[in-house]
């Protein structure tokens, strides 16, 4: 009966086929994402009252609110991530514009590859590269002394700006790719028509280019923001002990303190934060999540 149903394309048959096709994705989604998060949620909602004795409670979240260091780090991580996303957009937009609209043929593929090349080495190696450049005895401080800008080598690591540079550098490709896609689909004659009707560079950017590229811009910003706020390596290496990055707090709770309950609560707070900011971003950009992901 079932086979006959499938052969005739009956609703049950189609549904079964769809279910089978989606099975790998569902297994992945449920097994690796939903289940661990349910486990984390349960973990974050219990309090240890005695060794191996737990009670349901919101203590972990209360600790977060009561301890200024935690929520300061939380707000700081969000702010720097937003700033890094904005900086990435500002740098990636002209780059993407050049690749999509000005470069032709071989130059175009070459530029794309140039954006990609840094990603052939691991993030750790890339970040260590920055450390070699920026540390007190490194290349850049020495160069500044040689040129005569500074009298003595300056420590360039362990500043907020250093973290920002590292984060922008790591994220650039993920902003350039959706932007190139969005800008390539913009018909050049729209720009010419706007110019012909009296538009200037600035008004054309505002009226034609940005509205057209909006889904690409929003998609790039979401990806970069999520990568940045969840980044662990770059802030830790480039910011050192002062970095105060929220993922470090989570790491500390899980690994150093062995306080999984607190770590799980922090993990959930980070998830809520990035969800909230992405939602606000979509609302401000007037975009729908599905459209953005389809266009990127």
């Amino acid at each position: 009966m079932a086979r006959e149903g499938a052969a005739r394309g009956s609703p049950e048959g189609t549904r079964l086929a769809l279910l089978l096709l989606m099975a790998p994705a569902l297994v992945w989604l449920v097994g690796l994402i939903v289940l661990p998060h349910v486990e984390l949620a349960v973990l974050s909602l219990r309090t240890r009252v005695a060794p191996r004795v737990y009670e349901f409670g919101l203590d972990q979240y209360r600790t977060f609110v009561d301890e200024p260091l935690y929520w300061h780090t939380f707000v700081r991580t969000a702010a720097i991530s937003l700033l890094a996303t904005a900086c990435t957009l500002l740098i990636a937009f002209p780059t993407a514009w050049y690749i999509a609209k000005i470069a032709r043929g071989r130059a175009k593929s070459l530029l794309f590859v140039l954006c990609l090349i840094p990603f052939w080495v691991s993030e750790a190696v890339r970040t260590l590269g920055w450390m070699i450049l920026l540390r007190e005895s490194g290349v850049l401080p020495r160069l500044l002394v040689d040129v005569g800008v500074t009298d003595a080598p300056v420590e360039m690591l362990y500043h907020d700006a250093t973290i920002l540079v590292g984060l922008v550098y790591t994220s650039l490709l993920f902003m350039v790719v959706p932007l190139v896609g969005a800008l390539e689909s913009l018909d050049d004659s729209l720009i010419e028509a706007a110019y012909d009707l009296g538009g200037t560079g600035a008004t054309i950017l505002r009226d034609i280019v940005v509205p057209h590229a909006a889904p690409g811009i929003v998609a790039g910003c979401i990806v970069v923001f999520m990568l940045t706020i969840g980044n662990y390596l770059t802030p830790t290496l480039l910011g050192g002990k002062n970095s105060l990055w929220f993922t470090e707090q989570i790491y500390t709770q899980f690994i150093t303190r062995f306080n999984w309950e607190q770590g799980a609560a922090f993990g959930f707070l980070l998830l809520l934060l990035s969800t909230a900011i992405v939602w606000i971003g979509l609302a401000l950009g007037g975009q729908r999540f599905g459209d953005v992901m389809r266009r990127s």
Binding site: D187, S189, L190, E192, A193, A194, Y195, D196, L197, G198, G199, T200, T203, D207, I208, P211, H212
Partner: protein, 367 residues
Amino acid sequence: MQQDLEVDRVTKRYGAHVAVDALSLDVAHGSFFSILGPSGCGKTTLLRMIAGFLVPDEGDVRIGSKSMRGVPPNRRPVNMVFQHLALFPMMSVGDNVGYGLARRGVATGEIARRVGAMLARVGLPGAQGKRIDQLSGGQKQRVAIARSLVLEPTLLLLDEPLGALDLKLREHMKIELKQLQAAFGTTFVYITHDQSEALVLSDRVAVMSAGRFEQVGTPQELYYRPATPFVAGFVGANNRIAGTATRVDADLVELATPGGLTLRAGAGGTIAVGDPVEAFVRPEALALARSAAELSPAAQRFDGRVQNLLFDGANSAVLVREARTRAEIRIALPQTGRFSDLEVGEAIAFGFEPQRAVCFRASGHGA
């Protein structure tokens, strides 16, 4: 008469390729001027130099008697209707039409008033709030023209705007464009590769080939008195007959084809005996008859056999093979219906008056 556009010996090169070669042209105020040529002849390059998107290597473009040297497109009193119209999909119809006015800093209320009036004039009253993708092909066309004309340009440039439309709509929009131009009185410069569009729409047409003008004239002049073999072959249907000049007297040339056909045609330019020549005879200049005696005494007469019937309503024609040389000739069927019973393989007489054919010296290689 005041010239709205003067193009003065303008040249544009791309590397070794000369796209536009020392071209000059004048367009009178309020006229409809077309530039007709095959793709790659340089007509788009010329139009883009007038609009200001390209800078000529040599020569000058003057619009309303003012030199446009160094004036960018957004400051020229010229607007352009693009090939694919280039309406802004992110804006409503009203915002599209009002875009140029807003860039000029016109007050919002005044923009709304002028946009409303303009949309009413192009037959789309109240369409301000519509989205671009809600419009039909013909409506988009009208919005694109309204968007340009609302700025009251000295000159409107049109870059094959009908190219993307299907045949039926194209025929309809042709008439609409001509009526719009007459109603607004704006000078139109129109480029196309479609000779029918150029002939129907224009007051004057320039036929362009390989960066130069072959001939500039009214549609009638181009059709009835082509100046070069290119114009004769490109504008309207024509039978092209290549051969060698065997006799020249006054303005008549007698030529013989390699196949042995001899015929006489009016001379276009100076031709000497022995020159390789090309003669052009329009299908409608050829008369058909069931017997040679029915043809006019002034006509030179030939016999042939019907090879193919090409029925196309008012444009119906018949392909005839000349009896002796097997040369293929296209002849228009008269509208009277006299030959509606013609059959393939039927013997038929045909002829034409020499003055209705034109003969040129073949270009260079004597094709």
